[in-house]
Symmetry: C2
Subunit: 364 residues, 2 copies
DNA sequence: ATGCACGCTGAAACCGGTTTCATGGAAACC
DNA sequence: GGTTTCCATGAAACCGGTTTCAGCGTGCAT
């Protein structure tokens, strides 16, 4: 990361607004916000009553007192301190989300779903990104725990199942997309077998005969394993199709080149197991001067915003990411509500969006 | 948002692991984590000493006591409760980040920078997404405040400057990309004038003569205003160039069509003021069957991962998003350290990445 | 030997809330 | 009318830490 020069300007500050200048020492002290005691005194009641007012047992209070408190709160602009509330009550209204790679569009989309659901239920989200680094994952888990989050949404490899298991004793956990062996929690994700089935059926219907599946390196990621396994297994039920699997990385270019140039059994298509694989493949195909649709078919699991723009568009199996996120939060909420039933796995179905890259097979 | 059917499976739970089944009531009670008192008792010291040990004044403790405490902490697996720490100390180690649109790649990239910087300094990030909705912004600001975050990074319109000003009395705020009038805080963003200059110079050098700038609707967003203003102003210093400005939305297709078909003064190029405008333009050009490079040039402010893949690649002015994020956090840290100097504006320079869409002008 | 400064330690107050429990007054009952 | 019940309310304990302050033992100067 080389430093990029930045131009630093001093912002002109019109001194007519003197009041803005005085208050600028945030250094730990000062923190002089209006507290529950202030409200209580102003309303001429006890802290307990104020607490009842802002809590769920407002019903206990008399009309008169409630009104006095309400006025005091509005007058003073009082906002209860969630930290303090969480201390005794155990309810911080915080949900943690641990993401393996925040720059993966899938993660973002799911996160958006989670975030929306959180807001609707009065929760807030602490997002941590591990950048696929186990040490960072460890650090973040410790940090999340120390903030007394009420539940955790996990979309990461979980290379330390023991730590997760220990955490699971303290709070509900929902896995997203990636299963962690030995961790008996709810799981929300895609019906990978079904997705692969849809992809293969579509390709076969369109007349393709040779299919190269491109996945990111497996590295224990359950969803990748499932997709690859489903692929190899389902090939057996599609006698017309012939297939192989490769992973992204150094060898991808050669693998694709070989695949495209080989004699083969008919029209050829590439099946990308996720969005990042699709990006990698598209780049390679471009390098190889291979035209989507004319030279080789392409279908991708995940639908990215730029898929319509490349060539005649890239056919996609869109995941209902928003819903996956929302469902994950719902699971958490259910568990927080005391539900102790056996862990569930919610497998959503993808949606096939046909675009130019598979609209009809190249005629060999 | 239509419901998509999900297949629900019950996860087989091998009963050999009985211990996992017993502990499953997260409903408020239970929360039986090891506390500072436990450590103190085990080590045979007072809470105060333990507090000193985990705090910054470990130096005050004698060798013997420190060792006993350390052992007790390790034995018990003690982790201090950040909530409780934050209560008295005022230091929650939480930073808030309010983002207008979490699905904008720019926001994500910056967020990633912020997140990394946070981690390196032991802070955690609470991310809130307003989805460009003022009410949500209000809610989120209130929530963030109630969590005693130590500082706020803001990338949103700030349609309620008074609320922000009030918040600014309590904590440092750093704006990203978007200025808020009347809010005298640090600002980190792009040197928009310079970016526009680079774009125009590049286009002129490459032989383009007519330039259509496409921006998202301004709506008070300072960076958009600056870019448009710079554009119209700098056209004056490039007598060879002729230009116009339109915004994305319903009229975009017609505007672009008109621009492309008009007789004009020479080769034509479109200048997209940000990544989303680039997406919109590319879609329209595709609809219109306009080829990038052959029919019309294209340069975009922001660089997205798919730019190399469309046509012969889209020329971009990449923002140093990682650094923008990191700098924003640094500003915050400086203010938290008590720096009361006048608010600064850090304007980073973009980097020109030439691709096929402007490599040479179409010969008319 | 006494006085004093100093460094380590623990008791207790405190942060801003929640919750338990005791209390007092009104309503209900005999 | 006296007793009981019930309800609204407040005092105080509590959550898990931090911080103040007082105490105590030690070393050093007197």
């Amino acid at each position: 990361m080389k430093p990029v020069s930045a131009c630093i300007r001093e912002i002109a500050c019109d001194n007519t607004n003197k009041r803005f200048q005085a208050v600028n020492s945030f250094s730990a002290a000062q923190r002089t916000r209006v507290t529950m005691l202030d409200v209580a005194q102003r309303a001429g009641v006890s802290k307990a009553s104020v607490s009842r007012f802002i809590g769920e047992d407002r019903a206990l209070l008399s009309e008169a007192i409630a009104e006095r408190i309400e006025r005091a709160i509005n007058d003073l602009g009082y906002r209860p301190n969630q930290m303090a509330r969480g201390l005794k009550r155990g309810r911080t209204r915080l949900i943690g989300m641990l993401v393996a790679d925040i720059r993966n569009p899938y993660s973002i989309a799911v996160m958006h779903g989670v975030e929306t659901a959180c807001r609707l239920h009065g929760y807030n989200l602490v997002v941590c990104n591990t950048d696929r680094n186990d040490e960072q994952e460890r650090q973040h888990l410790a940090a999340l725990r120390s903030y007394n989050i009420e539940g955790l949404i996990l979309n990461t490899l979980g290379h330390d199942p023991d730590a997760l298991q220990e955490l699971h004793q303290e709070m509900p956990i929902v896995l997203i997309d990636r299963k962690v062996e030995q961790l008996h929690t709810d799981l929300v994700g895609l019906d990978n077998a079904d997705a692969v089935r849809m992809a293969l059926e579509h390709l076969e219907q369109q007349g393709y005969r040779d299919v190269l599946m491109v996945s990111e390196p497996v590295d224990g990621t359950s969803s990748r394993i499932e997709r690859i396994d489903s692929f190899t297994r389902q090939l057996a039920t599609h006698p017309a199709l012939h297939g192989a699997v490769v992973t992204t990385g150094a060898g991808l270019r050669v693998a694709i080149q070989t695949f495209v140039q080989a004699p083969g059994n008919g029209a050829k298509a590439i099946f990308c197991a996720n969005g990042l694989a699709a990006l990698a493949c598209t780049q390679v195909l471009r390098d190889l001067n291979c035209r989507l649709f004319e030279d080789v078919g392409l279908i991708a699991l995940d639908d990215l915003e730029w898929f319509p723009l490349v060539g005649n568009g890239i056919t996609a199996l869109a995941q209902p990411t928003q819903q996956i996120g929302a469902s994950a939060f719902d699971c958490l909420l259910k568990r927080l509500g005391g539900d102790k039933s056996a862990p569930l796995a919610l497998d959503f179905a993808p949606q096939l969006i046909v675009r130019g890259s598979t609209r009809q097979p190249p005629t060999t």
